[in-house]
């Protein structure tokens, strides 16, 4: 389990967050660019607008939320310095850990952890990954831990690959899309973010109720909010960090967190992404 955010530090961070906007407002009105990936329900435009407004208020500068279809595009923008920070998956983070720093990690149901779900059409009555052999499979994104890496790693452990194990497979570029694909019958199975699936079970039960969770992975580090290490001490990065870590302290932030089904944000705890890193390295070694 990830350690909880210490109360004293939270207070300090909140102070930073509160001080940040004033400082930012005084120095520059250049928008802070914040990248988003489908690690959460980024399709909820009202939520995005609330998040943008909350961060803008906290930072004292306009906040531009940047969305791209793939993780690769968002990570590419982040690595190129065109984003001040981005909410990315743990897998691209561990792949670029030498250049990226974690600003904050979401806390879901008390922990900065989540699982990858293997879901399938209920008519298959699948009970494990093995039952999905020969079936069509929807992945979320090639750079998604829960939506691709975990399943690939499980198959690699059996000397299999998606191409050889599944009948057909494709990328839906979004966890919600994977659930839609399986629910509609476009794919018979899918790899999906467990947090997204559980959240949709509350917000869109019509979609998740037509899917079965076949298997759950081990707990892994929740997709983090990262920035370039080179910019870690910059005002934008520190402001974003402070705003996120203090989000639970304000009614507006609490409302956003409730919509996101998150408890809050916390700093990275050591070893949080070791599991993902291990899977990534294992796959690379097999390649």
């Amino acid at each position: 389990m990830a350690p909880a955010c210490p109360a004293g530090r939270r207070a300090v961070l909140a102070a930073v967050a509160l001080a940040g906007p004033r400082r930012a407002r005084a120095t520059s009105l250049t928008p802070v660019r914040f990248g988003l990936t489908p690690v959460f329900l980024e399709s909820d435009l009202a939520l995005l607008r609330a998040l943008s407004s909350h961060m803008a208020a906290a930072l004292g500068t306009p906040v531009e939320l940047v969305k791209r279809r793939t993780y690769q595009e968002v990570v590419g923008l982040l690595l190129a310095g065109q984003l001040d920070a981005a909410w990315i998956c743990g897998f691209p983070y561990v792949r670029h850990a030498d250049k990226l720093s974690v600003l904050a990690v979401p806390v879901h149901r008390g922990h900065p952890l989540y699982q990858s779900y293997l879901i399938a059409d209920p008519s298959l009555r699948a009970r494990s990954l093995a039952d999905l052999r020969g079936r069509s499979h929807a992945f979320s994104d090639p750079d998604s831990n829960s939506g691709c890496l975990t399943t690939r790693w499980l198959l690699a452990g059996r000397d299999l690959s998606p191409a050889t194990f599944f009948g057909t497979n494709f990328f839906a570029y979004g966890h919600r899309n994977v659930i839609r694909a399986v629910s509609s019958g476009l794919a018979e199975s899918g790899s999906v973010d467990g947090y997204v699936w559980e959240t949709m079970a509350e917000t869109e039960p019509g979609l998740t109720s037509t899917t079965d969770v076949v298997a759950r992975s081990a707990w892994q580090g929740f997709p983090p909010i990262c920035c370039l290490t080179a910019s870690r001490q910059g005002a934008a990065a520190r402001g974003i960090e402070a705003a996120l870590l203090a989000m639970a302290d304000s009614p507006a932030g609490t409302e956003i967190l409730r919509a996101l089904r998150l408890d809050g944000f916390m700093p990275e705890s050591p070893g949080l992404y070791d599991g993902i890193r291990a899977m990534s390295q294992d796959l690379e070694s097999r390649a």
């Binding site: 057909t168 494709f170 990328f171 839906a172 899309n177 694909a181």
Partner: protein
């Protein structure tokens, strides 16, 4: 019997034999139905064309919107993007009511469909859907399958002029067809209602128009049954034609009444004339022996004491009185007996010989009398005697002095009697002969009343009088068959 019933049924079913009261409304209803069918067909054709254009426009709009999103997916063979585009479009074109839309790759396999559970990725497009898509692409308009209640629209996806796939969509046109069916039902019901209304109105109108004609028909039927013709109310007509008909009928009724009056008057006069002749004949017949009788009475009063003279006078008296009795009896037989009371016998005609004896002798005629009639002939003896007497008196009047008056009477093989009367006169005048052919016509104005009366009597008896060819004079034959009621009564016995 069975054939007669069949003929009657066929006749009743033949529209040419239907009454106007039925044929006119039916014709009106048929015409209205025909007009309504033609106009309804035009409405439906126009509606079908409008629906087709509407559907084509909707289909084109649907394909336009979908092609924009689906074409890049087709280029990249991106299953999810294709599905996402189809899935999002499914709920956005409610007017078209798409039930299934498919992105098909150039190899004919399905890249994605809006309902993967029906049509999976990688599957081949069903033959029926593929064929309809081909037709839709070739014609540029939706391929409609009315039986299935669906329409298929399709478009080739081109990237730089190169086909990268096809967009095929199936739409539910059940609502359009239901709307058309509803219009058809409404048209049919409305047309039936209008036709029925017009038929009813036509029936009422025709009934009203034909009412005077119907009344006239009733009067004619009554007249045909022997009832007295009654005039119609001239105000009851509904037009100049009917007024003319009513006036014509009333004119005919008046003419008939006038003719009947005249006939009755003439019959009375003829009766009086015959009575006069008969009275004269009887007076003559009675008078003839009276002289001898008076002489016998004188002889008796003067020489009654002498036995031989008295016996001779009494004998003369007995013979004279016997002659008178016969004459009186013949008169009574001719004029007092009720009609149809007794069968005809030869003696009935023998009496006539006595009645015309005076006329025969007055004209110096020779009577060629042959009475072969058997007894018990079932013919009305009074009518037969009146017919024979009229013919004899007529022939006597037509005979020249010293001529021969012939009389023959005999029975018919089927029953009944035949009376033949001939003379050697100048022949039967043309107008008198026409009386034989049409005894119901007006009586002759220039004589021949006896023949007219005889012809009418024969006709009323079911018989007829004909003229038979003869080298000299006239020969008339009266055939008097046994009346049907008498025959039936005899058969019943």
């Amino acid at each position: 019997m069975k054939h007669a019933a069949q003929r009657r049924l066929r006749s009743q079913l033949d529209p040419r034999h239907w009454p106007l009261l039925l044929t006119v409304p039916l014709t009106v209803a048929a015409l209205v139905a025909g007009v309504a069918t033609v106009t309804g067909q035009a409405v439906l054709s126009r509606m079908e064309a409008d629906q087709g254009r509407h559907l084509a426009a909707l289909g084109a709009a649907f394909l336009d919107g979908l092609a924009t999103a689906a074409q890049p997916a087709a280029v990249r063979a991106d299953v999810w993007e294709a599905f996402d585009a189809l899935d999002r479009a499914s709920g956005q074109y409610e007017a078209l009511r798409p039930t299934l839309s498919v992105v098909v790759l150039p190899d004919g396999s399905v890249l994605a469909s809006s309902n993967p559970r029906v049509l999976r990725t990688g599957a081949a497009l069903p033959q029926s859907l593929s064929g309809q898509a081909d037709r839709a692409i070739a014609s540029g308009s939706p391929a409609i399958d009315e039986r299935a209640g669906r329409a298929v629209v399709a478009r080739v996806l081109l990237e730089g002029g190169v086909p990268v796939g096809r967009l095929v969509a199936e739409a539910d046109i059940g609502a359009l067809l239901a709307e058309r069916d509803a219009v058809v039902r409404t048209l049919v019901l409305a047309n039936m209602g209008i036709a029925a209304l017009f038929a009813a109105a036509g029936a009422l109108l025709v009934r009203r128009i034909l009412l005077p004609t119907e009344r006239l028909r009733q009067r004619l039927l009554e007249a045909a049954k022997g009832q007295r013709p009654e005039p119609l109310d001239a105000q009851a007509g509904s037009g100049p034609e009917h007024l003319a008909l009513v006036n014509a009928w009333n004119g005919a009724v008046a003419a008939i009444a006038e003719r009947d009056l005249m006939a009755a008057r003439l019959a009375r006069e003829e009766g009086r004339a015959q009575l006069g002749r008969l009275t004269a004949a009887m007076a003559h017949e009675v008078n003839n022996p009276l002289g001898g009788l008076m002489t016998a009475v004188d002889t008796l009063s003067e020489y009654g004491d002498r036995r031989e003279i008295r016996e001779e006078a009494v004998g003369l008296l007995r013979r004279g009185l016997d002659d008178i009795r016969k004459v009186v009896r013949a008169g009574l037989s001719s004029w007092k007996t009720g009609p149809g009371e007794a069968p005809l016998a030869a003696q009935d005609f023998e009496d006539l010989r006595l009645l015309i004896r005076h006329e025969v002798s007055r004209r110096g005629l020779t009577l060629d009398w042959r009475n072969d009639l058997p007894d018990g002939v079932r013919v009305d003896r009074t009518l037969a005697r009146q017919i024979a007497l009229n013919l004899l008196l007529n022939a006597a009047a037509a005979s020249p002095p010293k001529g021969v008056l012939g009389f023959r009477a005999q029975g018919l093989s089927q029953g009944g009697a035949v009376i033949e009367v001939s003379d050697v006169g100048t022949g039967l005048p043309a107008d008198a002969e026409s009386l034989l052919a049409d005894p119901d016509g007006l009586p002759p104005s220039g004589g021949g009343l006896g023949l007219w009366t005889a012809a009418r009597l024969a006709r009323s008896h079911g018989g007829r009088i004909t003229r038979e060819p003869t080298p000299l004079g006239t020969r008339l034959v009266a055939e008097l068959p046994v009346p049907s009621h008498a025959k039936e009564a005899a058969d019943a016995r």
